[in-house]
Amino acid sequence: MMYRSNTLECAPLTVGFRAVRVSGRLTHSPYAGMPYLSELRPWPLQQPHEYTSIGMFEVPYEQPVIMSSQQRDGWLADLVTSAIQAVPGINLTVIRMGGPESQLPAALLGQDVLLANEPGPVVARTQADDRDGIFEIWQDIRTEGYSEGNNSLVLTMHGAALVAPFVTFAASHPELSRLADLSLTAVPAGCGWGEE
């Protein structure tokens, strides 16, 4: 039976869990009130077929754009840095990220950070090699009008010894603790995410 909670209380998480997942949705910018550089530019379009093609992206999205791509990357870099400081056992971070839209912060280019379009298979492959202490960040933060996504965030800490310190970290993090639709799921040793 997995442990589920819609808060970040960690009291029940003593021993016996092999992984923990914190998920939720950002509803405001972590940089509220602060200026950021305007990045977006007009498209270099000229021909009618180009306009027809790009029109396919004009669909309504429920969630607003709340950050620029540089802000998102900076925030993820801060998240990685602070998580590694709070949970020293992390030895690999895998982040869901498409092609970078601007120069990435150094913290996202470290040798123990991997950027992937889909982190799941990368994590599974790494675990198959008996490597643990993997911090998986699945983010869907909108930074452009055409980008799909719902500003959701799923953070998974793989490694029994890291479950409790990671939940403590998440509970004290100023933004993670205020995510909308917040939930915490812990997986007992010997169970997969789908087993309840």
């Binding site: 509220a32 200026p35 000229q46 009618p48 790009i54």
Partner: protein, 396 residues
């Protein structure tokens, strides 16, 4: 200064504890900004748009020419539910692919490239002249435009053309509009509606006349088109401080009821939507005295914020920017006397953008913040001196 600007707290952003100024105007935060620059607040755009739409009681199009910044558009597009008006391919390229909001394209300079791009973008074309009508019909039936709108010349519509050839150069006079409708009908192009706009700051004097004239013309238009029209965009011309005319808006809203009962009435605005969202920030380069007065020389002025030239005002009343003393500013604060003029960096004698109270101390390095500068930020008469363009920031 708009009425909104007198509120104790700015709309959007965060404020410093115990202060009515946004947090980003603190010296430490201003030091991070590359000047001259603009700082736009999307929350203010959304709030000002909603307030104006509520005051009018009709759908409200946003004229993107007033602020075509792509980041601001992406942040605010969900609010612009009624549509946006575009006047160039460059503006179209800001919005395409970024929002499903309805697009309207209107410019007397629409060429075939823009027309084709607009049709491909599923924009509603607002045709400005008989040559544009002919251009469109030459593209059909291969191109399949949405039903179009016609722009009527405001002076012609209200019968206020004196001397002959007077009025502005936008849109068609009424006889040409009737010819256009017949031509479109014969070509199988639908007529969606009419658009009239009398220009900036025209709301108070022109809008009542436009309503009456449109109502009078509609039966003939619909008879010529062979079908009822869907909407009429009666323009706007709202000033940035439209809130001080609340009684006028109440009366105007009531006067819309007859026209609204037979057709969808739209308004459009750029200045009133964007003006309040923008601050222009410039750095003091030097302070000097001339002929008994003082001059504060800045790294930005009318070359980056032409609004401060106040060319659309009959009486130019110099703005008084907020002076933010910076810790790293050089030299002792200088006691000023006489008239204190704030000037920009364009080497133009017209580049006097503000004045300061002589009691204010100012040093090189200090920042000056001009509020209500969010509209028409890209307007620049020349590229004289190859001066640095303003850096653009948004507030999260």
């Amino acid at each position: 200064m708009s009425a909104r600007g007198t509120l104790p707290l700015p709309v959007g952003g965060m404020t410093s504890p115990g202060s009515s100024e946004p947090a980003w105007t603190a010296p430490g935060e201003l030091a991070r900004l590359e000047t001259p620059c603009y700082v736009f607040d999307p929350a203010t755009v959304e709030s000002d748009y909603s307030d104006l739409k509520r005051a009018l009681g009709t759908p409200l199009l946003v004229s993107l020419k007033a602020n075509p910044n792509a980041d601001l558009f992406v942040r605010c597009a969900p609010t612009f539910v009624d549509g946006i008006e575009l006047a160039s391919q460059g503006e179209l390229n800001v919005v395409v692919g970024r929002s499903p909001v309805a697009k309207f394209i209107n410019t007397p300079a629409m060429d075939q490239t823009l027309m084709r791009a607009g049709i491909a973008s599923r924009a509603t074309l607002i045709l400005d002249s008989l040559p544009q009508v002919e251009m469109l019909t030459s593209l059909t039936p291969k191109a399949k435009p949405l039903p179009v709108m016609l722009r009527l010349n405001a002076a012609s519509l209200v019968g206020n053309v004196a001397p002959p050839g007077g009025g502005d150069h936008f849109g068609m006079d009424v006889p040409d509009a009737m010819k256009a409708i017949i031509r479109l009908r014969a070509s199988g192009v639908g007529l969606r509606g009419l658009h009239v706009f009398a220009g900036s700051h025209s709301f108070k004097s022109w809008s009542p006349m436009i309503l009456t004239a449109v109502e009078r013309l509609l039966p003939a238009v619909e008879a010529a088109a062979g079908a009822p029209v869907d909407l009429v965009n009666v323009g706007g011309g709202f000033p940035e401080d439209w809130r001080v005319q609340s009684a006028l808006f109440d009366e105007y809203r009531r006067s819309l009821s007859r026209l609204s009962s037979r057709v969808k009435v739209y308004h459009e605005s750029g200045r009133a939507v964007f003006s309040g969202c923008g601050h222009f920030v410039t750095k003091v380069i030097a302070v000097k005295s001339v002929n008994g007065g003082h001059v504060v020389i800045c790294d930005g002025g009318i070359a980056q914020c032409f609004n401060l030239a106040q060319t659309e005002r009959v009486m130019k009343r110099l703005r008084r920017p907020v002076v933010v003393p910076m810790r790293e500013a050089s030299g002792a604060p200088k006691a000023l006397s006489g008239q204190v003029r704030v000037v920009g960096n364009s080497c133009s004698r017209a580049d006097v953008v503000g004045e300061l109270d002589p009691a204010v101390t100012v040093r090189p390095g200090d920042r000056l913040v001009f509020s209500d500068c969010g509209a028409y930020t890209t307007y620049s008469p020349t590229a004289f001196l190859n001066l640095r363009a303003p850096t653009l920031y948004l507030v999260s």
